[in-house]
């Protein structure tokens, strides 16, 4: 073990352009996309034949045949096959958790180099059989005689044969994530206009960043796509105002969540290369930023005590306290736009005296976030959100933004299904 905690350095990242579901990547599997994202990273940083400390990645919608998704993807790259790899899964925080836990291993001296990332495909989502049919098939499988097997199979009814696609519903509430968010947005009094403005800013910032070549060393083309195909640089608040709400429709006139201020279902993959200072130097690689710390959170949403996507609001308070920091100390904020209202609800919560005192147990509000520092190169509303790939997109983007600004800090917030979330701190170098 290392004598003292070492810096976990973010060396660089790579992702494939994100594609709206059932578009450019309709025929690509999770493994195809993750392998491609890893291949791009390997090529960019000359990792061919290298044995890394570990590769951790995951997918939220994962087929059971992909039980070793990360390992199988590594075996499809020019990395040394002696590189261990494992799967991580924490809903939309999968990528961030993979990267954060690898950074901890590096900091503790367990490994010197790592790749963390994630992938998701809506277009190639695992479709399974009904519980009833599975029960019958398993019973037939356990049967010892042909007669017993046939007796089991005779129980199959036409209704059992309907395929079951994964949904975005929370298993314990039956509400989709959008419905949950609509309730939280309504409770925080977040207006339609605020949400649409945030969505437009996301598209414009992403388009501008592409325009100035910001993503040239962060994105590698895949299947003919060179940019995220959900991006609408010409988006305006006026255009978005014409859309009808899609979530919280039972709120009537007060429904505010539309298809434009909610992220679309997306396919894509991302990967981030981490290492110690020495490992980066030995391999003559850049050192963009340090992955300083991260904190998970979870809230009691099942009984409605807290909003489904509000966990980062709580995790942020603990993370800031542990690192003796306030929001004023940060240069950039990357708050994952699951919905425009997710970002706005967190910001409002941190500004709220009542919330910060009552729910976070603080003496005063955590404070405001300077909007000019928020999601400056666009976020999920524009780029799309292939669940497990979002963490890698955010970490690589923020590390690049902070590169050349030693000591400057960046803040990350990612919400996740199941009432969970992660916040993280990155420091430029």
């Amino acid at each position: 073990m290392a004598e003292k905690v070492r810096d976990a350095v973010i060396i660089g990242g790579n992702r494939i352009p994100f594609a709206r579901a059932h578009s450019a990547y309709a025929k690509s599997s999770n493994q195809d996309m993750l392998t491609s994202a890893l291949n791009g990273l390997v090529a960019r940083y000359g990792l061919q034949g290298q044995q890394l400390g570990a590769v951790a990645a995951g997918a939220v919608l994962k087929h059971s045949k992909n039980f070793n998704l990360a390992r199988e993807s590594v075996l499809g790259t020019p990395l040394d096959p002696k590189t261990p790899a494992y799967d991580v899964q924490m809903a939309c925080a999968t990528g961030t958790e993979a990267i954060g836990s690898l950074a901890n291993k590096i900091r503790l001296g367990q490994i010197d180099s790592a790749i963390g990332g994630g992938v998701d495909s809506i277009s190639d989502a695992p479709i399974v059989v009904t519980d009833e049919l599975r029960g019958i098939l398993m019973e037939a499988n356990r049967a010892r005689s042909l007669g017993a097997r046939l007796k089991a199979l005779a129980k199959i009814r036409p209704g059992h044969l309907a395929p079951q696609a994964p949904g975005t519903g929370e298993p314990r509430t039956g509400l989709s994530m959008g419905e949950h968010m609509a309730i939280t947005a309504h409770q925080w009094g977040i207006t339609r206009r605020e949400q649409d403005e945030l969505a437009v800013a996301s598209h414009r910032n992403l388009a501008a960043a592409y325009e100035e070549g910001f993503f040239d060393d962060l994105v590698t083309p895949f299947k003919g796509l060179t940019k995220d195909n959900n991006m609408r640089g010409d988006s305006t608040v006026e255009k978005l105002a014409k859309l009808s709400p899609v979530f919280g429709k039972d709120l009537g006139e007060e429904a505010t969540l539309t298809a434009a201020n909610s992220t679309p279902l997306t396919d894509g993959a991302s990967a981030v290369l981490l290492g110690t200072e020495e490992w980066a130097d030995e391999h003559d690689l850049p050192k963009l930023a340090n992955f300083v710390d991260y904190e998970q959170g979870a809230v009691d949403f099942v009984g409605g005590a807290e909003g489904l996507l509000m966990a980062p609001a709580y995790a942020a308070a603990r993370l800031l306290k542990r690192n003796n920091l306030s929001f004023a100390d940060f240069e950039y904020f990357e708050i994952h736009e699951a919905f425009a209202s997710t970002v706005l609800a967190q910001i409002k919560a941190w500004e709220s005296e009542e919330f910060c005192r009552g729910k976070l147990g603080l003496d005063a509000p955590l404070g405001s976030i300077d909007r000019s520092k928020l999601n400056v190169t666009g976020s999920s509303l524009a780029a799309g959100h292939p669940f497990a790939a979002t963490g890698g997109r955010i970490v690589a983007t923020l590390a690049k933004l902070l590169h050349g600004k030693p000591g400057k800090l960046g803040f990350i917030s990612v919400c996740a299904a199941g009432g969970q979330g992660i916040t993280a701190i990155i420091e430029g170098r």
Binding site: P171, R172, T173, G174, L175, E179, I183, H186, Q187, D250, V302, G303, G304, A305
Partner: protein, 299 residues
């Protein structure tokens, strides 16, 4: 002076037979004049129940997507499963010849339960049912059916189910017009139940309550509903799932408004009123029309 009436001991009834008898009685009532009985049978009915089986508990928890009865952390059976065990005895009481209201088409208005002590799978039970408070209702006549579930002489569970014999006016119609209904303002929902066309049949398979009003559109129409409606106690089961204490001692109630037609969606809200009390409501998310309200108070 109050005389304590000895209960009539009966074998645990079979619900299917009771429903068949109810249909016959309904036909007969068309042929003969009824409404001559204006008093409730005084004698309670008592039956031995061999105990709720593990299989039934498992079927129930699959129906409501609950946590497993693992024999360690969860052994206490849900109140609605105890209600299910006692239901045939209620039905036997209500299908007696001297019961003044016709069984078929009876509407469940509300249920109040004091679940005093845990009931576990395999525990032999005694179930006593009696009828009380036959009173006028603006749409017919209502009655309280009280059920006591005991084991070894100790009462574990008491419930009062209020039923309405719709259209059977044994007393003069209450003169006063019904109080204007308060406008229902739905609270923020905490869940959405998506009920398939087979929700009634699924609850029937677990509970044995094959009341035709819950099974298919056609049988429901014959009983005056536009479509099949879900059992009221299914809503109670979903409402309570995961909220009842393992050591029991809790009280809960549910009051039914418009029935939930199938297939359908029910918006549901659980609100914490104080440390021990939760209030529930279920409503139609499209029409904002209430289906039920309920309350749970922990000991």
């Amino acid at each position: 002076m109050i005389t304590v009436t000895e209960p009539r001991r009966i074998p645990l009834p079979e619900l299917g037979r009771l429903y068949r008898k109810a249909v016959l009685d309904a036909v007969k009532s068309k042929l003969s004049t009824t409404g001559s009985l204006k008093a409730l049978p005084k004698q309670p009915v008592l039956a031995d129940h061999p105990g709720i089986t593990q299989e039934q508990a498992e079927a129930y928890r699959q129906l409501v997507h609950g946590e497993a009865f693992d024999g360690v952390h969860r052994t206490s059976l849900p109140s609605v499963l105890v209600h299910i065990a006692g239901f045939p005895v209620q039905m036997a009481l209500m299908s007696q010849r001297n019961f003044p209201l016709p069984l078929l088409g009876m509407v469940h208005l509300s249920n109040q339960v004091h679940h005093r002590k845990p009931v576990t799978a395999g525990q032999p039970l005694q179930i006593l049912a009696r009828a009380e408070n036959l009173t006028a209702h603006r749409r017919g006549t209502q009655v309280d059916i009280v059920v006591e579930v005991s084991a070894e002489g100790e009462v574990l569970y008491t419930s009062t189910s209020v039923y309405l014999g719709r259209g059977t006016y044994l007393f003069e119609k209450p003169a006063a017009a019904p109080a204007p209904r308060e406008e229902f303002l739905p609270p923020a929902k905490t869940a959405l139940w998506t009920l398939g066309a087979d929700a009634g049949r699924e609850y029937a398979a677990v509970s044995g309550d094959y009341n035709p009003i819950h099974l298919t559109g056609i049988t429901a129409k014959a009983l005056g509903q536009k479509r099949a409606i879900v059992h009221g106690m299914y809503s109670a089961a979903r409402m309570l799932e995961g909220r009842e204490p393992e050591t029991a001692g809790h009280r809960w109630s549910i009051e039914f408004s418009a029935p939930v037609t199938l297939p359908g969606k029910v918006a549901f809200a659980a609100e914490q009123i104080d440390e021990k009390t939760q209030r529930f409501s279920g409503w139609n998310p499209r029409k904002a029309r209430p289906h039920f309200t309920g309350e749970l108070t922990l000991p």
